[in-house]
Amino acid sequence: MLEKRYLVLEQVTIVYPGSPPFLAVKDVSFTVEKGERFVIIGPSGCGKTTVLKAIGGFLRPTRGSITLEGRSIQEPAPERPMVFQDFEQHFPWFTVLGNLVYTLKVTGKASGKEAVERARHFLALVGVEDAADKYPHQLSGGMKQRLALARALVLEPKLLLMDEPFGALDAILRTKLQRELMNLWYGLHFTLVLITHSIQEAVYLGHRVLVMSANPGAIKETIDVSQIEDMDTRDFAEVTAYLRHLLVEHREVAKEGKHDL
């Protein structure tokens, strides 16, 4: 049953030091199966990015544990690549191809001709092969996010982490890239933990959607949406309506809580 308990978070609490210390995430526990598409959604400041950074190993939980395949996550590693929202997430001094080749070389995944071939293969997979010899600053936002996806996938990740990857794109491009991400998943079956604040994106991309609430960041509910993929169905509309209700209702409660202070 190891497959079912692939990524495990147990009672994860994260406090940012300072005066006063800031409780960002409180007692978050969940498990992600191997090959699952797991989406975390919540209002701004609910600690979803903090949770993702902790899974990435960029910061350690103050309390609780995070394990992948039973091994504790201590620091960032190429087996858990992160795709950021920031467009400027490529090395500007390498070409598009050079970025992927460097990624392969520095992680010891491949070298020489093999690295170049594999890099080209993944560029083609995400549809930026024509821009191979350009520099990142010459790419559009959508192309940059595609390249980021290629850079993560070329590492054959155990866990793909995405932090609002399409958040800065326009609606049409966003829908297009969501579809492409799904197609890639059907081909490669990677395990995905994705953060978004788009309800539509969460329901479309996720097998399960974890809803978080703010002040402090905590789990509100986990919803199974694995049967719903077609956006034009009644089920899709119902689930998004329910999620909207959950998120908005929670925000109001949080506001009232503030007034009490």
């Binding site: 990435g56 960029f58 620091e75 960032p76 190429p78 992160m82 920031d86 090395f91 001094w93």
Partner: protein, 266 residues
Amino acid sequence: MTSSIPWVSRLGQSVLVRRLLLAVGLLVLWHFAVVLLRIPPFLVPSPISVIQVLWQDLQNGALIAALTNTLRLLLMGVGLGLLGGIFLATLSILSTWGRDLLAILVSVFNPLPGVAILPLAMLWFGLTPTAIGFVVTYGALWPMAISIDTGFRTVNPTLLMLGRNLGLRGPRLVKDVMLPAALPHLLSGLKIAWAFGWRTIVAAELVFGVAGAQAGIGWYINQARYFLETPRVFSGLVMIALVGILAETLFNLIERWTIERWGMKR
């Protein structure tokens, strides 16, 4: 089709032509001012005699030898300053002790001009190129360390996370991510260090002089002054200005090949 625009305006449309014309105009003005105002040639020689001496000393190699000596020392000094700056900035970004060390060193030594420590350098190394090289290194080190440190501290945090994600830590993260990302700052530091070093070295050679096989452009000028060969003094000054222009062009080229091509120019 012949253009109806007069040829003067057409010529004026090229930057190069415009500047060349202005330069020639100024030289002509200089020449006639000297002749008409009857200025003694040992005070201000005419441009023609300056160009003659310049040409002569370029051909017999005296000017080139002097220039080579000065530039070799300058390159070594700035190079050592660059390496030292990278080293100090790396310490500074990797540990709080290093950060405090750099802060203390910079606050003490940066306001202290290179020429001011030349007497000390001469006590230590005598009247040698080493003394002047030491002063140039010293002068280059602090602006380099400050610029590179600023560059390191302003690297896009996403790029740093990306580097850590790929398993890079410590010095390797500095070398592979922070150093190239800090290149715009590094280059502007290098420009400051170069300008600073160039002024320092000429001044040091002029005032203290290093004779013999190692004699530089400052010594060349000073010798000419000693023998009242004013055109030679001018030709030394012209060379200094030319090297300055050349260096500026070289820096611009480096920027175009690197940070401009990579879209990193601020």
